[in-house]
Amino acid sequence: MALKDILTPFTVWKNVFKEVVSVKDPLNDRPGAARYRGFHVNDVDKCIGCGSCEVICENEAIDLVAVKEATLGNSGLRPMVDYGRCCWCALCVDVCTTASLRLTNEYTWVSENADDFRYIPGVDAKPWDNNELGWKKPEPNYHFYGEKRQDMGELHPEERDHSFIEMIKGFSKEQAMLEADRCVECGICIAACPAHMGIPDYIKAVREDNIEEGFKVLYDTNPLPEICGRICTHKCETVCSVGHLGEALSIRWLKRYIADQVEANDYKKILKTDGITNDGKKIAIIGSGPAGLSAAHYLALMGYSITIFEQFAHAGGMMRYGIPSYRLPYDQIDKDVNYILSLGVEIKYNTKIGKDISLEELKFGYDAVFAGTGLHLGRSTGIPGSDHENVYQSIDLLNKITEDIEIYVPEKVVVIGGGNVAMDITRSMARLQKIKYGKVGVIATALESEENMPADREEIVEAREENAIVNPGWGPQSIEIKDGKITGLHVNKCLSIFDDEGRFSPKFDENNKQFFEADMVVESIGQGMDLGYITEDVKKDLEFGPRGRVVVDEYFQTGVNWLFIGGDIIQGPDVIHGIANGHKAAVGIDKFLNK
């Protein structure tokens, strides 16, 4: 112990003369750091009410409560936070699928009312609502769920452009499980799916590699999973929560994955439909498209005896006769259809109602009738020259391709139309040309500009990959005919399609013209329905709405109580709508017959 040890400590007295370091008014002089995890704010217009914040909160501090009207892709619910529970971990912010939720950098909040501390951020006004600082979803590359889709394998253009074999390869097990892992199980997609399929449940089954469970979930609402797993318009994917900050789940491909894993022989075992008997009342179904097959399936499960009347030689309707087999192979249609037939459903092919058998006969021979006859009449542009024999309707050509009937395939073809069917015929013609001439010469043109074309984006991209030309934004004016042969199509630039009242009334730029050379023109501007089979004395009791559509109730029952109508002729062309209609109609028919 030295003298130093006694004296040195006293030197600290010099600190008495130092400036005071404490912050006098910390609440005002020292604001929270820019990242501070303070109180919640939510951009309620951006929030979709997916509930991921509620799920992740380990303190159960968040409840989703109804705030807005639910719309597609938006549950209308918004998070309510309870500060009696919250620990300000901000996991809710990190997981938020829209980045609408944040924490501001406020430190203190005083209220004498304990209930104030349970509030709906963004709805219950708070002093910090406009504070831009505070905790936000971290960056860069910080994701609580996979942001990117698993790549879907497909045939390269040069592998597929000369054949009709299926181009999408389907997920491997590993890919499917990784894709399924991305789902946050919010269920936002269910409402957007016309059939309200149990999407998160079957995705969960994929994630857990429980194919049988997933397969059962599919059949709860959709008896055509192989078909829908390939060509569904996937409205679910357009609203998927994960799609807000990343790429939506590949819901459609996951559905296909499940169906692809199950052998046709195992269907009945897994779905426990071995013991189905069909000795109930008799029901006639007109048309074996998605609506008819769906109605048949669910009615068969209820024990009814079903007979389907199909005008063509094979089942499937537009799914077979409208969609080319490179998108939807026939054996996959058969897989779905054969299972439905195996439930005891009878099908009479090549039988057209109104020609081979009348609606009246059905009325007397059956207890109820469901008609899902689809849109099979091609529409013409009616422009000069459109009555030439080498002007075709896309739907007629697609029918013939399906039936393997030879069609006219010249070197140069123009397709008029911007929807998926137009792309189907464009790509089919391109394949046939490639097979016949080794080169492609198809131009697809549409009134709509490229951004507004109704066809799926991938259809347009893939058509181009296959060397078809897609040149939208032109209005067809006339078909040039020389010496009895088509030489091409005159088009003018399209300025607008609808008038101020939203009616179809295209305007063209007379000074901006083009001539597309062609030996053949295909019109693909939509299809119409043929209700010719509905006899006059039935018709008089039906009510007709806009565009000649029959008015039906929520169960697709018409004014004539034994007649139910659904599918494309009621809701427009869409397979999954048809399936949903058929299911609902089956429930309606059951109610009708049992009341």
């Binding site: 130093k4 040195t8 501070y36 380990e58 971290p138 860069p140 991305r182 994630r207």
Partner: protein, 403 residues
């Protein structure tokens, strides 16, 4: 039971003890304390005692002012976080685990994250490794700023504590900038970290480090060149060499006994193999040596933070892509991961049964051995006035015992 004779040469103020005062040790190893003999007084030191770190009680049996028997009691915190974690998704454990140690929550974040990553074979981005090391060293610094002067505080010299707590607050400000939190930072998350350095962070950090350099000089004058401090700490609370391994003594407590023990060197993790420092050890193993080791730790920590700031990459990814945290199932298995906290080896033993929630999360904290078995032994023979000082010299942390 052997009672070590105090080194009276070193500390003239040591009292002599009379073995006859000590209670007999019964066959079952318990002390035979007969309070009716009027030889003993029993007092409770804690749990509500300003001198106790956290909530813990020492049941002391005194003869005069000398401790003849000591027993540590925990159970006042009523927590059970380890159990809670068994019912939570791994991601949800992350805001829970921090509560296992209030003073240095960051080690819990790191160990939980690392356990998950090891079990699921996840490599984290380079930037995240440096940022993790930075936040761990900042946590150590914040702790040492309190505990180094805090040792003098136990002997009623509170001024250094005031300085230290002020500087600790500046570190917490930096924590707030980096992590969004002051006390529970919740920054190290399975897969990486939750943010890059904010703009200007390094500059502000250096400004604080310079203040800490000055602080070190000041406490050297105030505390370490102080006759009273020396008299009250030299030769007190000696952990004998043979006790170090048998009692599982780690960290500064082991280093003060001559054991060059530091998980960062012995089992390097994160980027510690890229940093340069020496392990400081002393031999005497008393309260004074432990204070000096912590003083050295403070100096080293400041230096390591400077090294990290100089060497760390400027940007980069902060988190590896993990499976969706809402469904994340961790492969079946068990793992023990460790780190060097300011108190020594701090480890997590995590068992996964392959599900989304851990089967078991078990913390191996230094305080369990230091504050329970070791402290009970060190206090025998001590003067009642030194109890607090000896306890603090072991840097006991009750929340970490009772988790």
């Amino acid at each position: 039971m052997t009672i070590k004779k105090m080194d009276t040469k070193k500390n003239l103020f040591n009292w002599t003890h009379d073995r006859s005062k000590y209670p007999e040790i019964k066959e079952n190893g318990e002390a035979d304390i007969d309070l009716t003999s009027h030889k003993y007084v029993k007092i409770w030191h804690g749990p509500n005692h300003p001198g106790v770190t956290g909530n813990m009680a020492l049941e002391l049996t005194l003869s005069g002012d000398e401790v003849v028997h000591a027993k540590t009691h925990v159970g006042y915190l009523h927590r059970g976080f380890e159990k809670l974690m068994e019912r939570r998704l791994y991601i949800q454990c992350f805001p829970t685990c921090v509560r296992l140690c209030v003073a240095e929550p960051d080690y819990n974040e790191y160990l939980l994250a690392r356990s998950v990553e090891e079990l699921d074979n996840i490599e984290i981005p380079e930037a995240a490794k440096w940022l993790r090391a930075l936040s761990l060293e900042m946590a150590r610094l914040a702790t040492l700023l309190r505990t180094v002067p805090g040792q003098a505080g136990t002997l009623s010299l509170g001024m250094g504590v005031q300085w230290g707590v002020y500087l600790r607050d500046l570190i917490l400000d930096l924590f707030e900038e980096l992590t969004g939190g002051r006390v529970y930072h919740m920054y190290i998350i399975p897969g990486g970290v939750r943010g890059l350095l904010p703009d200007g962070f390094k500059k502000r950090m250096e400004e604080v480090l310079v203040k800490i350099d000055e602080f070190q000089k000041k406490i050297d004058d105030l505390i370490f060149t102080n006759a009273i401090f020396k008299k009250r700490t030299i030769g007190i609370g000696v952990i004998e060499k043979h006790m170090v391994d048998s009692y599982g003594v780690v960290g500064p407590n082991a280093r003060a006994a001559g054991f060059a023990r530091d998980v960062r060197k012995d089992y390097p993790y994160l980027i510690y193999d890229q940093l340069d420092w020496d392990i400081f050890t002393l031999k005497d193993s008393d309260v004074y040596s432990r204070s000096l080791v912590r003083r050295s730790d403070l100096r080293v920590t400041v230096d390591l933070i400077r090294q990290i700031m100089a060497k760390m990459p400027d940007g980069g990814d902060i988190r590896a892509q993990t499976p969706n945290v809402l469904h994340w199932q961790i492969p079946k298995g068990e793992v023990y991961v460790r780190s060097e906290s300011s108190r020594g080896e701090y480890g997590y033993y995590v068992v996964s049964d392959g599900s989304k929630t851990p089967r078991r999360v078990n913390l191996r904290g230094p305080s369990y051995t230091h504050a329970v078995v070791l402290l009970e032994k060190l206090l025998v023979n001590a003067n009642i006035a030194d109890v607090h000082s000896i306890m603090v010299s072991l840097q006991t942390c009750p929340p970490e015992i009772e988790r």
